[in-house]
């Protein structure tokens, strides 16, 4: 953190370029927090770092991170989230507004913006689309945009008041605001702790049919067509929802889709004997669905991969499965978990980085995610093949609820820079 160097030359690095989709050995020159040259000779007076052939990529832009401020700082603070992010190669956190209280007024947004300076990585905030995320009345979208909100979302609360939602979409459209939806038919998914399957039934867990996702998505896409709003579906996790995304894009609607790393790398069998760290929103899906989503990611139907980092204390997880809270931490495990898709041959590194860094940055209008001259020097240096066994108690996050505990993973972060300053050294 105090390793600030005005002029930095990173040489002998495998440059992972999500824009040009290349991965070649080269160098980057960084001055005053920006990339100023690529594959140039080391300038005079520069601090030179030999990267020894490790991968150098734009830092991850992690869209949809829950930070416990305000209201649940015992679960995660801006400081702890920043440290976890830096250790995981995440250089920009897009924080969620499902705090206590929700970030639904410019005053709350200003409060969290002030608090966010404690983070060593960049933090941008989403704001709630409706007051109290209740789905009834829209928030002050204009004021919130002025105060720096990058997108508007009620997170996992899905409004049943379609008329109110249509008004919020219409108003957001007039301001060019980006709306993030959680595609889920709330009636059908009420009370569910798992996805319908033989497995969930034998465990006696109340399930939801995967169709609930498509029903929710189709309602939202209808409203997008009606209002013309810019729309991002936070998590598409079922094969049945994919044709709707494809159709919407083909018809020219301004629609993108994301998915959580957990739904890309785990399936409903992982829940095993009621392991609550695997309880997520939406619940983990079948292996068939997982494979379809991985393919959709490789084909560009799904644009963005994120951790959906959701810190939960031990008390709220050490409960019977139905009563335990949903969600998993992911800031620090996103990179090694995502590398599973590279090691399995589903995606190459530059394409993966498109979904982790370039695509979310572009969608949110941020300059991050590129290795070009003039781009911010938000970088991660990592070894994609370094193996390790994850020990959850070594995570920097205040909460340790990761489903990857005890699993073998590959991919180790060696260094992270934000605006040219080193914020993590592995």
């Amino acid at each position: 953190m105090d390793n600030t160097t005005e002029l930095l030359h990173l040489t002998n690095a495998r440059l992972i370029d999500p824009e040009g989709l290349t991965q070649e050995l080269g160098s980057l020159t960084v001055l005053n927090g920006q990339i100023v040259a690529r594959n140039a000779a080391a300038p005079k007076g520069a601090e030179v770092l030999d990267c020894a052939g490790l991968c150098l990529a734009p830092g991850i832009v992690d869209w949809g991170v829950k930070i416990g401020e305000p209201g649940e700082r015992h679960r995660e603070s801006f400081r702890s989230a920043g440290l976890a992010a830096a250790a995981g190669g995440v250089t920009t956190i897009i924080a969620r507004p499902d705090t206590l209280p929700a970030i639904d007024t410019p005053e709350t947004l200003e409060f969290v913006t002030r608090r966010a300076v404690e983070s060593v990585v960049r933090i941008r905030h989403m704001a709630a689309l409706t007051k109290g995320r209740a789905g009834q009345e829209m928030t002050e979208i204009g004021f919130l945009l002025d105060a720096g909100a990058v997108a508007f979302s009620d997170v996992f609360h899905v409004s049943t008041n379609t008329k109110a939602l249509a008004r919020a979409f219409t108003y957001a459209r007039s301001l060019g605001a980006l709306v993030v939806g959680h595609p889920q038919e709330p009636g059908l998914s009420a009370g569910a702790a798992a996805t319908n399957s033989k497995f969930a039934s034998l465990r006696g867990l109340p399930g939801v049919h995967p169709m609930a996702e498509r029903l929710g998505l189709d309602r939202d896409l209808g409203l997008v067509e009606m209002t013309g709003v810019r729309y991002h579906a936070d998590q598409i996790t079922t094969a049945g929802a994919l044709p709707s995304i494809v159709r919407a894009k083909e018809r020219g609607l301004d629609v993108t889709a994301g998915v959580s790393i957990h739904h890309l790398t785990l399936n409903d069998f992982d829940v095993g004997d009621y392991r609550t760290f695997f309880k997520l929103t939406p619940p983990l899906r079948s292996e068939d669905d997982r494979l379809a989503i991985v393919q959709a990611l490789a084909e560009g139907v799904i644009d963005i991969v994120a951790s959906f980092h959701t810190p939960a204390d031990e008390e709220s997880k050490r409960l019977p499965f139905e009563e335990a809270v949903s969600g998993a931490v992911g800031l620090q495990t996103l990179l090694p978990a995502a590398l599973r898709l590279v090691h399995s041959g589903d995606l190459d590194l530059p394409s993966l980085w498109r979904t982790l860094s370039l695509n979310p940055a572009k969608r949110l209008g941020l300059a991050q995610g590129r290795l070009a001259e003039g781009a911010p020097a938000d970088l991660v240096l990592f070894d994609p093949d370094a193996p390790f066994v994850l020990d959850r108690f070594k995570l920097a996050s205040k909460s340790k609820n990761t489903p990857f505990d005890g699993m073998r993973m590959e991919g180790k972060v060696h260094a992270t820079w934000v605006a040219g300053s080193q914020v993590y050294k592995g």
Binding site: G191, S197, F199, P320, E323
Partner: protein, 320 residues
Amino acid sequence: MTLRARHLLGIEQLSPPEITEILDLADRYVDLNRRTVKSSDVLAGLTQINMFFENSTRTQASFELAGKRLGADVMNMAVAQSSVKKGETLIDTALTLNAMRPDLLVVRHPSSGAVNLLASKVNCAVLNAGDGRHEHPTQALLDALTIRRAKGRIQRLTVAICGDIAHSRVARSNLILLGKMENRLRLIAPPTLMPPGVQDFGCELYDDMKKGLEGADVVMMLRLQKERMDGGFIPSEREYYHRYGLDAEKLSYAKPDAIVMHPGPMNRGVEIDGEIADDINRSVIQEQVEMGVAVRMACMDLLARNLRAERGRAAVGVMA
């Protein structure tokens, strides 16, 4: 022979020889229970705590009697109206009880998997007396014993399970047990009361009760669990009774010597006709209750053997 596991959390953990072992031992306890003097000292000196997070009269009484007949010190904790109401978590309740050093903990809980969670935190033997919609292992064992005594075997029978399968832990445990013992299973229910994924269970599925009952050796009725329903599973009780209630006419499709079972408590006139329930030539419902005590004695006896063996090993370790 003993059981491999320390706890009895579900039928899923039991092997066919273990099931047979439990049934054989239970048969002997049936004989004991029919004597005038029913006491034994198999569990003498051991403490059994019944923790029911969900109200139950029948199962709790059955476990209490089973423990007392084997000489255990039995305590009933009505957890449903105690500390849990004050906000104590399940784990804290378990740890508190564990500190009192019980030997056998009998637990019923409304959430699936809750008994597994509790068992992972205590060092006595835990018996699952029903968790949510997951398992109710002693019920399936007592059903198996009842069938074996009536039919002379617990293999190669055609068993029809009818009614509210979606909400029933009894159905799940029975499915697993009867499947492990290689019986032919049929599930009969309106599609709204079938659990999701049921087509992968390896059972024959029927929504027409008469077809489903054709040639059945055993007809197992389930209670319509109104308290677990959030509405709208069936149009009305009278239509349900008309299509799925067991009456003499529907029963005539089963084998002439087919037995009728019900885990109780019954909703007469909803899932079963009162006359069928009381027909001593067909109904084994009262026998099921009797077998319940014997099966629970057998399970606690076997778990206690494991506990003693474990403690014996620990004591030898201390001396060495």
